[in-house]
């Protein structure tokens, strides 16, 4: 499944995987900001960003083709809008829109491809994101695929009982009924989780098995990325 690939990628042990989540998150933000502020005709800049991303993927030893393919998930939406712009005669702007969107998606994918989500969220918490949001997101990610699987099981069960085609009014009520049952089960599950957490000594926050420290290599990564982005941005042709 989708998320299993991402989990496998993020559990690697390359130099990039071992860096502190804060350095990777802030570095990605710098890269994204550079991409988003690039003017329409700035081929060297887009090539530069592509080179940085490709280097990142290679250093992280991620499968290049798979990453590039997965980032293409944003292409349909950006192509739709690009077609809209192109019809109005501005083909260069349309092309820049697609390139920008694609490069941004690849940058985001590289970030989560080299940082397990619990580590990334812990890094964001240390950067000042409210604890409530972080905890909620951690629980969400933990139970996301459990509940999605449950909903798929319910769908299979319903069709096994002869769900096929029914009148529209009945179909709507039946779908609403399954969501309600899913809700009831989720609610029960949440209560069970809380009791289990208390039994295991939960004290209000998740702890990482291997806490990371912001070392000199992390400063090097972040500093290098920000410097490269600044230089690329500085040498931009005027918009």
């Amino acid at each position: 499944m989708h998320q299993r690939t991402l989990d496998q990628w993020s559990r690697g042990a390359s130099w990039l995987h071992r860096r502190d989540a804060r350095a990777k998150a802030l570095g990605t933000l710098a890269l994204l900001a550079l991409i988003s502020s690039a003017p329409v005709r700035a081929a060297p800049l887009y090539l530069g960003v592509t080179a940085i991303l490709a280097a990142g993927i290679l250093v992280a030893r991620l499968p290049l083709a798979a990453v590039l393919l997965r980032a293409a998930i944003v292409i349909p939406l950006s192509l739709t809008f690009a077609a809209l712009v192109a019809i109005q005669g501005d083909v260069a702007k349309a092309a820049a829109l697609v390139v920008r969107t694609y490069l941004s998606a690849a940058a985001a994918l590289l970030l989560v491809g080299v940082t397990p989500l619990p580590k990334l969220l812990d890094g964001l918490r240390r950067l000042g994101v409210p604890k409530m949001i972080i905890l909620t997101t951690q629980f969400l990610y933990r139970y996301l695929f459990v509940l999605v699987e449950q909903s798929q099981h319910m769908r299979i069960a319903a069709s096994a009982r002869g769900g096929g085609r029914v009148l529209r009014a009945i179909g709507l009520r039946r779908a609403a009924g399954s969501v309600a049952v899913l809700f009831a089960r989720s609610y029960d599950r949440a209560e069970g989780i809380y009791r289990a957490m208390l039994a295991r000594g939960f004290q209000g926050e998740f702890r990482l098995l291997e806490p990371t420290r912001f070392g000199w290599a992390d400063s090097l990564l972040l500093g290098g990325l920000v410097l490269v982005c600044a230089v690329l941005g500085w040498s931009l042709p005027a918009a």
Binding site: I133, T136, R155, V179, A180, F183
Partner: protein, 303 residues
């Protein structure tokens, strides 16, 4: 409706991100105050529940089916603060794990769907006066939630300099209206089904009375403001003309040009700044009108 990175111009995403920081902080604090510690896993599981519920198809017409967006449903199940926070978490996971919505655009998406989307759903619900109209109120809330979020997303794209021709804009609005109606119908059906299992799971709205008027005015003001932003961003020239005829132009122009004159970037920034200021002026105007209207209504009611 999830805006990816690369669509919004830097001033737009930066402004939305900066505006989202205090909003998310406030929502997190309020949600923490309103909940017990045992609710922390519940919020995360509810976020996962929305993901799972989105996978269930609802037959809505011949050959077509829709699925849930969820902001309104969450608001009615968890209350507005917790709902806004869970929506923020959902958007964060969608942008990080599924590349559905950008990271820089997260602030904009949070505003559109988690903040305004939940507020638009909650205001009519909170104002419900008569139990018999409950279905209509839930439908309206879910409808407004989707349509407001969609209009805001369109406005942000327009302000970012993406030209959308008027006919395409009309088609987009019509599509938003259809999906908003679907969301309304689905939300009503789900709320009824959940109530059958356990009525206590649904948040109580207001018991009617004085606040009803205020909430209706609030909802109307929100819709007007969102519509105003969309209109202003699609035709900033028209609004400029309006400001000019109102005699504000000389003062407005002085305000814009004085602090920036002499700087090289004022030439580049002025086009965007003019658009933004025109939009903002329109928003303030509409907000003021709604405020006056609301005050007048309440005074008449209490007298």
């Amino acid at each position: 409706m999830h805006i990816p990175d690369g669509f919004l111009s830097p001033p737009v995403w930066l402004a939305m991100d900066l505006a989202a920081i205090p909003a998310v902080g406030l929502v997190a604090r309020k949600a923490q105050g309103a909940l017990e510690e045992s609710s922390i896993p519940l919020l995360g599981v509810m976020g996962a529940f929305v993901f799972a519920a989105q996978m269930i198809n609802f037959p809505v017409g011949p050959g077509t089916s829709g699925h849930l967006v969820g902001a309104a449903l969450l608001a009615y199940l968890l209350g507005p603060w917790a709902a806004a926070m869970v929506m923020t978490s959902i958007l964060a996971i969608q942008s990080l794990v599924f590349q559905d919505g950008g990271i820089l655009a997260l602030g904009a998406n949070v505003w559109n769907m988690a903040m305004i989307g939940v507020l638009a759903a909650w205001l009519p619900y909170h104002s419900q006066a008569v139990a018999s109209r409950r279905k209509a109120v839930i439908f309206t809330g879910a409808f407004l939630s989707v349509i407001c979020a969609g209009c805001l997303a369109l406005a942000e794209l327009l302000i970012s300099g993406l030209h959308i021709p008027a006919p395409v804009l009309a088609v987009a609005l019509a599509l938003f209206a259809v999906s908003a109606a679907i969301e309304g119908g689905i939300t009503v059906a789900i709320i009824q089904a959940i109530e059958k299992i356990h009525p206590g799971w649904i948040q109580a709205g207001a018991s009617g009375g004085k606040r009803t008027g205020l909430m209706v005015v609030g909802a109307a003001a929100l819709v007007l403001a969102v519509g105003g932003v969309l209109v202003a961003s699609s035709s900033p020239d028209g609004l400029e003309r309006l400001i000019e005829t109102a005699g504000l132009s000389s003062r407005g122009r002085a305000l814009i040009s004085t602090p920036l004159s002499g700087y090289e970037w004022s030439m580049m920034a002025s086009e965007w700044l003019r658009k933004a200021l025109a939009g903002l002026a329109g928003l303030v105007l509409i907000y003021g009108l709604c405020l006056l209207l609301g005050r007048g209504l309440i005074r008449r009611r209490s007298s």
